[in-house]
Symmetry: C2
């Protein structure tokens, strides 16, 4: 099942169910995705039962599947990315046996084709291609062995980042505020079963195609997460109840062979250049630049649709 949210002028939009070929839709029997997630046991079967899609889909009218959420917890669980970033930033985070995770702004997830306003071109504007999950309500203390049951949907996210602010904020120990403006979300949220055998151990076994200004930039594989999404959910829920509609991210998709497959953010490419050549060659984004992200199954299908955004001056 694939869900999306139509812009109807409200903050939460109007939930729709999308046809298998992503050309048509039906209005959902529940008004918003947030409402559906709060009553998922009843809503999910009702949504899945829809088999007739009378309306033609216009991608430009879609908001993020969840246009705002009560909570956004973003992990960083691709070891190849973490190790490189630590090296380049000159940071030696204390090693723990837990995933890295921060809480980011969740009152806005930009629409998949929205222009994204940024305060200042000199702040190191960067994209971060990620996968994410959206949960039902998760009781405090839920262990990883049960946490997967609370994953309602899988999504694809662009975690916009301002790199010149990221290092200094990280060094405060308080995490990121200014370095992390709102994310974008690809048009379709899908149930894990929609990914079939490509949802493995709560990990997305898809490639994430990233294009910057129309040029191929990355093609990293989603599966090699050091922690699966079930473990990220359990980490987030250890001392707090997660409300329905909590969004949890994987962090930038990255592979050990990033020199071959490319990267899902500019910072990683610059890191490789610093390591290999002593200095970064690639600049960050400028106003007017676009980034397109599309996760693909081996047969070429893009279950989340394309997230294509342009950076503009706020």
């Amino acid at each position: 099942m694939r869900l999306a949210t139509l812009d109807n002028g409200t903050k939460d939009g109007r939930l729709i169910v999308v046809s298998p070929d992503a050309t048509h839709y039906a209005l959902a029997p529940v008004e918003t995705l947030q409402a559906a997630l709060e009553d998922w046991d009843r809503a999910a079967p009702a949504l899945a039962a829809i088999a007739s899609f009378p309306e033609q889909l216009d991608l430009a009218r879609l908001l993020a599947p969840l246009p705002r959420a009560w909570q956004w917890l973003d992990g960083s669980v691709y070891p190849s990315h973490g190790a490189l970033m630590d090296k380049v930033l000159g940071i030696t985070p204390e090693k723990t046996n837990a995933p890295l995770m921060y809480q980011g702004v969740s009152d806005t997830f930009h629409a998949p084709t929205a222009d994204v306003p940024m305060a200042d071109e000199e702040l190191g504007i960067d994209f971060e291609g990620e996968f994410g999950v959206v949960t039902r309500a998760v009781p405090m203390g839920t262990g990883a062995e049960r946490a997967g049951d609370y994953i309602a949907l899988v999504v694809q996210i662009n975690d916009w980042s301002l790199r010149k602010l990221a290092g200094p904020e990280m060094k405060t120990g308080f995490g990121w505020i200014q370095a992390k403006p709102p994310c974008g979300m690809a048009p379709f949220a899908v149930t894990p079963d929609e990914l079939g055998e490509h949802w493995r151990a709560h990990r997305p076994a898809l490639h994430l195609d990233v294009q910057w200004n129309g040029h191929p930039f990355g093609h990293a594989y989603g599966e090699p997460m050091a922690y699966g999404f079930h473990e990220l959910v359990a980490h987030g829920a250890r001392t707090r109840t997660l409300v329905a509609g909590t969004v949890i991210g994987s962090g930038t998709v990255s592979n050990e062979n990033f020199r071959e497959v490319g990267s899902s953010c500019i910072a990683e490419r610059r890191g490789i250049e610093i390591v290999d050549e002593g200095a970064p060659r690639t600049d960050f984004m400028r106003f007017g630049d676009t980034v397109r992200m599309e996760a693909r199954l081996p047969d070429g299908r893009a279950p989340f649709g394309a997230l294509e955004q342009k950076v503009v001056k706020a």
Copy 2:
């Protein structure tokens, strides 16, 4: 003007206007505080015009004034607290010319008399008495010189903390997830004018009385913030638009003479013991413990009412 939120079985409760002597109330013409904040220019005068308070107030029926918010950004701007904590945690955060700030869980602010469920007594359960503000929508890039205009309300907060998780999470650079379960909020949100001359340069010139299990624990003065709330709002809004109803906190209220006036959290008292005696004597909270926080004007009035909570096993 003092506002509060009645428990009516909904997540956002029912907004009420409280009488000057805090014994009676009137239903507000706007259903929820969130809705009022989204239309503050119209809602504030309508709320302030209410002069008749027909209903008797039962404090036990109150939720937090804002029972959930789209965003909670907590500063740490009392220098005496920061310096001591750095010393005790063995952390040397890079000095910046910006306030420290993290984003915490905002989907729940516990009611002022609610029992607060905690996962585990061994995690170093601690309170943190703070002041906070609730904003209208703040445009991205709003400078400190104008940011004060967006402060709608002042609130009093208990930022519950789990100290044994705080140091390790801080050392990751990603900030706190598990160390910061949801906060509590005192019953009344007040407009800055309600504090009169005790709202100075966007700082609360009140003492915060803290009692732990009925014994006086702290009596710190709110004014010596290194950054005023206008600067905290501007810091939060540098690269993101703040939605209406964003809550921004001061961090633990603390004074240089904490040995005389006491502290607003146990960690600070333990820090003093470590510095003075080589080891902490004071233990953290146990299940069944209570903490009461009440900010007082010089004439003894408590504009936010009392926040009194009991820690219970989740």
